[in-house]
């Protein structure tokens, strides 16, 4: 009898292990497939010509994605410029000022914001933000600034929830000590709490960047997708993700491989960002 129970326990354990490992397997498979499809073109055309090439015309043999790499970073930094102050302020309010009831109202609302599909953000951007930019700032409205505004809002939930966790986890004794020294509430926040939650806040910014750089649907709808490096905030631009989604439907042969190469570059960028967020910064929190 005991044997059977033990066997059953063991069986359950191994099934769970198998399931747990399967998610790792998926990651591994995605990795292998993207590399298998994307790397041949790097060998054929050359790493330099793809990463630093200025011209993207895959049906004519040009596979340069440098303008898109720059555009992806511009969009991400722009989104951060808008999203970081907003998100951090919200997190500070939630952790330091808000009463229990306000917090109970705001927290789910922010989680809801995270759940809104990106196509809805894109749609709202096209209907409201693009015409606003066109009428008051000029240009076609499909521009860097419109994209940054929408992405800035989209990364808010990430920034708020992770910064909030970092701020809340600052020990009570820090606050009490600061108050005992005669510091006001804002002085405490500014001089004590934010510095001690710094690594968590930075991690939230970097994860927000990861979200912004990976966003596709909303960006295609708003960015205008022109192939040039934008020279002003009113110029249209194309990101790496946008390039893949835009052209996949018709791509064959080398064109298709070119899109996979775009994917490889994107994957490397996102891996670096995640690495920084997870190991470079979070480890410091643990200490």
């Amino acid at each position: 009898m005991i044997d059977r129970t033990v066997l059953k326990e063991r069986f359950v354990k191994w099934v769970l292990v198998a399931f747990a490992l399967s998610s790792l397997l998926f990651l591994f498979l995605i990795f292998i497939f993207i590399l298998a499809e994307g790397l041949p073109l790097f060998l054929k055309v050359g790493l330099n010509k793809i990463i630093f090439g200025m011209k993207w015309a895959p049906t004519k043999g040009h596979f340069g994605i440098f303008p898109m790499i720059i555009s992806s970073f511009l969009v991400t930094i722009g989104a951060l410029v808008i999203g970081a102050p907003l998100g951090l302020s919200c997190a500070i309010y939630l952790s330091e000022y808000a009463g229990k009831r306000t917090r109970m109202l705001l927290k789910p609302a922010i989680e809801l914001l995270a759940g809104i599909p990106s196509v809805v953000f894109g749609f709202l951007g096209v209907i409201y933000i693009v015409p606003l930019v066109r009428n008051y700032l000029g240009g076609s409205g499909f521009s860097l600034i419109s994209t940054c505004l929408v992405l800035g809002v989209m990364i808010l939930p990430t920034i708020i929830s992770i910064s909030f966790d970092a701020l809340v986890s600052v020990p009570r004794t820090y606050r009490e000590g600061s108050a005992a020294m005669g510091a006001t509430k804002w002085q405490t926040i500014y001089k004590v709490i934010i510095p001690s939650a710094k690594s968590g806040i930075l991690a939230s910014f970097i994860l927000g960047m990861g979200r912004a750089i990976g966003e596709t649907m909303a960006v295609i709808m708003i960015a205008g997708n022109a192939l040039k490096i934008p020279t002003s905030i009113l110029d249209p631009l194309r990101t790496l993700t946008g390039n893949i989604a835009l052209e996949l439907a018709y791509a064959t042969g080398d064109h298709r491989l070119g899109l996979f190469s775009t994917g490889v570059v994107l994957m490397v960028i996102i891996m670096i960002l995640n690495y920084i967020a997870n190991f470079g910064i979070k480890r410091k929190i643990a200490k």
């Binding site: 303008p67 076609s140 997708n225 110029d235 249209p236 439907a249 018709y250 791509a251 298709r256 491989l257």
Partner: protein, 270 residues
């Protein structure tokens, strides 16, 4: 045949097998025709297939996208009976049979409030190649022209490049949208935009430009005066089997052509 081809073909083969599997339930009763290719032709083929299957209950017509090139490849490899193409065949594809099912005009469109109503092909070429970038150069306000194009690989873009751009390239600063519908939406909302779309989609929201004095319409295309026209083709490898032939005959019949005409395309009986 290398790995890359298989990645494209396997889903097609799988789809084909699953279809023949379904028809295998009642042997000898259902006949499956698989059609794949251009996404510009696909919606019209789907519509024709729906109408055809109402009257021909023993036929199952499976219509898939993938783009003109993928469709032609699938025909060459015999994974589909009929390929759809919205561009002419290239030299190495010339050994296939083509059946022109109808013609589609490409309309160059602007916002209805735009007073510019006529251009010649040279002008349009200069706009899309970035040599003319301000509406003032065309006798309107001092405002940048927001040109909108389609993405690389699109059949409409391919046709536009062949008919209008010729040896010139579309400027990198040109905006890009990924469907006829999105291009139309941009032009309909941005007063300073110019784009090109399939003629069937032109309505009151956008204004078609008269090219050298000729507005795009079924009439001007038929008479050959409007030049931005591309054929919609069915591509087959050798002679079609008699039963697939029945579908093609239906498409070319008065009834089929009427359906295409109602969709804004130019058929043979107009």
């Amino acid at each position: 045949m290398n790995f890359r081809h298989w990645v494209i073909l396997l889903p097609l083969i799988a789809a084909l097998l699953s279809c023949s599997g379904a028809s295998g339930d009642k042997p000898g009763k259902k006949h499956t025709i698989t059609i794949a290719g251009s996404t510009s032709v696909m919606p019209f083929t789907e519509k024709l297939a729906e109408h055809f299957m109402v009257d021909h209950k023993n036929f199952v017509i499976d219509v898939q996208g993938g783009g003109s090139t993928a469709g032609i490849q699938a025909v060459i490899n015999n994974t589909v009976q009929i390929g759809m193409s919205s561009r002419q065949l290239k030299d190495d594809e010339k050994r296939l049979n083509t059946i022109t099912i109808c013609y589609d005009g490409i309309a160059v469109v602007v916002h209805p409030d735009n007073p510019v109503g006529e251009m010649d092909l040279d002008r349009i070429r200069q706009i899309f190649s970035g040599h003319i970038s301000n509406w003032r150069q065309l006798g309107w306000v001092d405002r940048r022209i927001d040109a909108v194009s389609r993405e690389e690989g699109s059949g409409t873009r391919g046709a536009f490049e062949g008919l209008v751009m010729k040896d010139k390239e579309i400027d990198d600063g040109t905006m890009v949208q990924d469907s006829n519908g999105s291009v139309k939406e941009v032009v309909a909302t941005d007063p300073y935009a110019i784009g090109y779309i399939s003629m069937g989609l032109v309505d009151k929201k956008v204004k078609p430009i008269a090219i050298a004095g000729v507005k795009p319409s079924i009439k001007t295309i038929k008479s050959g005066r409007y030049k931005l026209v591309r054929p919609f083709l069915y591509v087959t490898n050798g002679e079609l089997d008699p039963r697939s032939r029945r579908f093609v005959d239906y498409v070319l019949s008065k009834e089929g052509q009427k359906i295409l005409r109602n969709e804004g395309l130019v058929g043979f009986y107009d």
